[in-house]
Symmetry: C2
Subunit: 498 residues, 2 copies
């Protein structure tokens, strides 16, 4: 880890934190953030000291309130600043006096609305004290392990009916880190991932990035044991050279999936008016991502789908995909999508075809099952057929990844096929992804069970193919850089531990 | 309606139907199909006569069982054939004797596994009696209005735990027709649409199409009052000239969205081994669809998303889209996707921008809201802001469609915004689609409420943009063919009636 990114530790694991702008008013961000720290401290998750800073209140949630940062006793690692923009320079001057290590400026009203001078003033003050700054105009940090939690959007809303419902869910612990320029996209991500029961290790919303950039965060996360996959949302990347250098190193250790917006002229114009980002040519970004092994997602869904695949499955050692299906049409859809994305769905080897023919002779799969790739065990599918087919494809040295379409609608297929397939897959270092189409009970159960057994499951053949494409692209990058084996070994070792 | 497609009436609304292969064995298709008719007759939905045909049983579900079709009393409109493939020719000979109008051959074991001779024999017999044949190797027909229902896949499954869960849901009544070559894809569609609470008017699985083709079904559905949008899944289209002629006429009356698979060489090979389809060049299909105004979906999700949009919203009179958002990042994503699909997200007119500036002066939207397109009312969004912005965009003659991103995570936004926006939209003939990101409670509620009010809602900005693209593409086709106004008038009239 570089000296630079070591400095970021105080953001994620501060020994002491002050919330500047902490208040008793329950609908204010300053209240919610302070309360998050208080609750995590009481639960024993957050181990550091916590302080409330507000000249207008005496105590908050049973904690004494200090009029200024300088009045806080002892050393202060982190200041979380939630006050009106115009007050921020004064707070930063106090922070310098107090020799604070780092500051998260949650407040908005800076460069994003044209107040560049104010932003520059804040940065200048921070530099005089050597304070690292995250933000401004950001949601800050959430760390599932240390209990640092600055998410202040209301967890629930009360409807006109009087019912209280979840509005912005707390993340569940997991191994995917989210690094985002857009706070709104960030909370949307948490809502999406939590609803799909996918866990988050860390969440970093860096907003206007006047100091700490996406690059520094990536460097930090490369060394974070809780994080297996990094999701990065950006509208622009400044300091491209630094990004190139760092990202290339990070992706040798763990995959980065990026959603880079402002791809079109109109999109770039919108980005410019959103964060003042100068987007630059989208082709340059494509080149940068290709060179650094950062996997660019085409859209939001692919972004999350690839992350899920990369967190659950090893990368593929090549582009040759074998497809198993119990439904002809959806099988063809999967083949098309694989080929359109540059994967190969080649005719199976003679050895493999002979194995399927043998199964036919033995009456173990239907006589009229097609077996050239896809292997289609037809509407007569049973758990045993899908299990046998999976085993045969895993044993085929020419197959580097498996897509399993086990549509549950066929009469004889029982849900135990999922566990059977997972058992076969657990003995192999090739990736497998699954698909079941449908939005009612059995389909939801099927996908959930697959996910639970760490076989990522998707609701369309195309989504499954795209997820496999993420595993293939990452594998190709690792191979090219001579670190495939090392990554795989490490991946399988951590997987066994769970 | 052509004389040809009038013949299809006996499939969808027969005065009498015989299920050949009806049986007491509850896990057999012949049982489920006969039971569907019995139940729909008892409910008063199916108005025709029903007969069970099986030489080995005396009675089924209280109905007398006839040894052969020829023994059935009175005229017979429709025979549903669910017997082993080899027996089908004999059944067809009986059907000819009985002067049956039409037959659905559910049985498989024909051309799809290379038994072309058997298939030809069946067709030849049918022709001697002038019997229209749907199938073989198909799931047949489901008609929400007449109670014709040949869906035989098990509605529920019993899990190892003993729990019984929905496996293949019954469709809910609605205005989308599904026409599919793949039965498996067909049931998947029903599962998808039902889970998303989208209703189905008719379902036609035509399988090997030895007689009735997709083209005839399209022609029939063009005149079906219950059907507003047609979803077509095909692996190949035979008789291209006829398709060209008919599809062009159908799309003047109602939109057809197609998912054509076998796009790649490997996909075409898989299609060939699935149904024996000779796929032909994908470019030719592209040209045919473009010429006939059939909207080709890029993937399964777009297929359903476009159908939902076209069933709920009028087509757009042009490609100029206005975007409203309360979240900067997702707004940019929507802009990008619109532009990448060929829609225009132009800077708003000066008049519109002045209206937004006035709202700022009046304190009705935040001072720092951006308003060039998208209009971003920021995280301070309220219901009133989104309502006002919608009104302004609907009033702008340069805006031909509106995408509303009302992400619910922002603190002050209440769910009543949905009804407010729907009220504004109901007074206008421009299309609007909505998006809220997230998979937990509030996001699901939000999208469901939008759908309920016939504003189609999507879970990602890209999906919303693609749905709008469907409305724009269909509008452009109608404009080009001089039938936009007529379609729009008809669309709005039927909408008012609901």
């Amino acid at each position: 880890m570089s000296a630079q990114s070591k400095l970021l530790q105080s953001f994620f694991n501060p020994r002491s934190v002050a919330v500047v702008g902490a208040t008793k008013k329950i609908d204010k961000a300053g209240h919610v953030i302070f309360k998050n720290f208080v609750e995590n401290k009481r639960r024993g998750v957050f181990k550091g000291e916590i302080f409330a800073v507000n000249p207008n209140e005496d105590s908050i949630l049973g904690f004494q309130c200090y009029p200024s940062i300088v009045d806080v006793p002892g050393d202060l690692d982190l200041a979380v600043i939630v006050v009106p923009a115009l007050v921020v320079p004064q707070i930063m001057r106090d922070a310098v006096k107090k020799k604070v290590t780092s500051a998260v400026i949650v407040s908005s009203g800076f460069g994003e609305i044209g107040n560049h001078e104010l932003e520059n003033e804040v940065l200048k003050i921070a530099k005089t004290g050597g304070i690292k700054v995250l933000g401004p105009n950001c949601l800050g940090i959430y760390d599932s392990r240390t209990g640092v939690d600055m998410l202040f959007l209301p967890e629930t809303k009360v409807l006109t009916s009087g019912d209280e419902v979840i509005a912005t869910p707390r993340p569940i612990p997991g191994d995917i880190a989210i690094v985002t320029q857009s706070g709104a996209f960030g909370v949307s991500s948490l809502d999406y991932l939590t609803g799909r029961q996918i866990g988050v290790s860390k969440f970093v919303s860096f907003g206007n990035k006047i100091d700490v950039t996406e690059t520094e965060v990536l460097d930090y996360l490369a060394h974070d044991k809780e994080t297996k996959v990094i999701l990065l949302y950006v509208e622009d990347i400044r300091h491209g050279r630094e990004f190139l250098k760092v990202a290339k190193e990070v992706t040798r250790k763990k995959p980065i999936v990026v959603l880079k917006t402002g791809r079109t002229t109109a999109g770039a114009r919108a980005a410019a008016s959103h964060t003042g980002a100068l987007a630059g040519s989208d082709r340059i970004y494509d080149a940068v991502f290709a060179q650094t092994g950062v996997i660019r997602a085409r859209d939001m869904e692919e972004f999350f789908d690839m992350a899920k695949a990369l967190s659950m499955q090893p990368p593929a050692s090549g582009p040759n995909v074998g497809i198993i299906t119990d439904a002809g049409g959806p099988g063809i859809i999967a083949v098309d999508e694989c080929e359109l994305r540059g994967l190969n769905v080649k005719r199976f080897s003679d050895v493999t075809i002979r194995k399927f023919e043998k199964l036919k002779d033995e009456g173990k799969i239907p006589k009229f099952a097609t077996n050239l790739n896809p292997v289609d065990v037809t509407g007569s599918a049973t758990s045993e057929m899908l299990e046998l087919a999976t085993k045969i494809l895993f044993d085929d040295p020419e197959i580097e990844g498996v897509i399993l379409l086990g549509l549950h609608h066929v009469p004889a297929l029982q849900e135990d096929y999922i566990d059977k397939v997972a058992k076969v897959a657990s003995k192999c270092s090739k990736p497998i992804v699954a698909c079941d189409i449908g939005e009612t009970e059995m389909a939801l159960r099927t996908r959930f069970r697959f996910d639970k057994l760490e076989i990522p499951a998707y609701s369309s053949p195309e989504d499954a193919a795209r997820a496999m494409n993420g595993l293939v692209r990452y594998g190709a990058f690792l191979e090219k850089n001579g670190c495939f084996e090392e990554y795989l070994e490490n991946f399988l070792r951590t997987k066994c531990k769970r």
